[in-house]
């Protein structure tokens, strides 16, 4: 077979790569990324996202844990108590984004309540997340779950935090810290099926229109 004319004008390494792409077999993206021609001057993309302040909170938390490791022994033994206003802010009547009536796509955070003890909630989340390929970082009742494999927008990073609403009632917040929102949505679905016996009310239950 005669090579197409344009090959004569092009870097021979590129032409070999192109052959692989189009003629011989479907080369995969990971394979392309390993090719010498591709790697020349290649800078992997950095994903910037319009994050709300939550990401700063999460990062500050992890900075704290490095700076204040010495005082960790005096850390709280109980999850942070939610104050009345934090609960009140959850009202659907205060979610003015709904005025914009846009297909909001997939949520970036979700909540559920649980009547289980906080430590039990934590171990159940860890048990559910590890087989899904997540590394776990824990500090008190906050956790950061990081997917070891990179997804569509880098490694999915999920932040979870447990709050105490009442002595035997906890609120668990699961928030996307970094990565693709659809992947976060899939993660939440997997998580909720593993946590069926832990969840008391999901956010959907909590916002049901009577």
């Amino acid at each position: 077979m005669q090579s197409p004319v344009y090959y004569a004008l092009v870097n021979p390494n590129l032409s070999i790569l192109m052959n692989m792409c189009f003629i011989f077999q479907r080369i995969t993206i990971p394979e392309i990324m390993k090719d010498e021609w591709f790697k020349k001057n290649y800078k992997p993309p950095v994903f910037y996202e319009k994050e709300d302040a939550d990401l700063d909170d999460v990062q500050a938390l992890f900075k704290d844990s490095e700076e204040y490791r010495v005082t960790e022994k005096k850390e709280e033994q109980q999850p942070t108590a939610m104050n009345a206003f934090e609960l009140i802010s959850m009202s659907r009547g205060l979610k003015l984004d709904n005025l914009f009536d846009v297909e909001q796509g997939f949520k970036r955070e979700t909540r559920f309540t649980s009547k289980c003890p906080a430590n039990e909630i934590i171990s159940k989340i860890v048990k559910a997340a590890k087989p899904l390929g997540f590394d776990i970082h824990k500090k008190n009742y906050k956790m950061r779950l990081e997917n070891v494999k990179a997804g569509r927008k880098g490694n999915l990073n999920v932040a979870t935090e447990i709050f105490q609403v009442a002595p035997s009632l906890h609120m668990v917040e699961v928030r996307k810290a970094k990565g693709d929102t659809l992947e976060f949505h899939m993660f939440c679905k997997n998580l909720s099926s593993s946590l069926e016996d832990v969840v008391w009310k999901t956010e959907e239950d909590m916002q049901e229109t009577k």
Binding site: N83, N98, L99, D101, M206
Partner: protein, 213 residues
């Protein structure tokens, strides 16, 4: 697609010149025009009178015009600046301005204080917080013993009510919110930054010269 001619638009009740509104708010003229598209659809949803009444507001927020909600009522009352019983376009834009990501923090703190000061006494009293908390628990179908509600209130007032007089004043609120910044999350709508991409139909109705923007 709306076919408003320019004279019709000026006769739209509650309509205000986008250039004026843009000069008084963080919105650009195009953004005000985009907000007008949103305003038109909300204000015409039950009664086509160009004004947003309580039912239309409830419909927009809950997709259910009959849904009563303490907090939605508060927001409606605050948007209805002149207490006319409806929200006109100027009210709409000026109120949403406080929720803009670029609006000054001070304004958001002020607004949230007024939001929670149900009877407008200038203080957020314990009985008001109790009322709001109970409303939230009811809305979420979370049943808690009255004792538990009191414990939550105790903890909240211990932190927020610095002089322990049973009510939260404006400066106590300011301190409390600085220590708990997540409480102001409800006061910012990131969508307002991209309003022109959310409601692009405004480009067909724009009356204002590009140069003037």
């Amino acid at each position: 697609m709306g076919c408003f001619s320019s004279t019709q638009r000026r006769q739209f009740p509650g309509y205000e010149n986008p250039v004026t509104l843009a000069s008084e708010t963080a919105f650009s003229v195009s953004e005000v025009e985009a907000l007008f598209e949103l305003y038109k659809s909300i204000s015409g949803s039950v009664i086509d009178d160009g004004l947003i009444n309580k039912e239309e507001f409830q419909l927009a927020l809950f997709k259910n015009r009959k849904k009563e909600n303490l907090f939605a009522n508060r927001i409606f009352d605050l948007f209805d600046v002149k207490k006319k019983g409806f929200i006109d376009f100027g009210d709409f834009v000026r109120s949403l301005n406080v929720f803009h990501p670029n609006a000054p923090l001070e304004e958001k703190i002020d607004y949230s204080f007024k939001l929670y000061d149900l009877d407008g006494t200038g203080f957020i009293e314990r009985h008001e917080v109790k009322q709001m908390l109970i409303a939230l628990l009811c809305e979420s179908e979370m049943k808690l013993a009255d004792e538990t509600v009191e414990i939550i209130l105790d903890k909240t007032f211990m932190e927020a009510d610095a002089n322990q007089d049973g009510k939260i004043d404006r400066s106590e609120w300011q301190n409390f919110v600085s220590k708990n910044p997540s409480l102001l999350k409800i006061m910012t709508l990131p969508y307002l930054r991209d309003i022109t991409t959310t409601f692009p139909s405004f480009v067909f109705n724009s009356e204002v010269d590009e140069i003037a923007t």
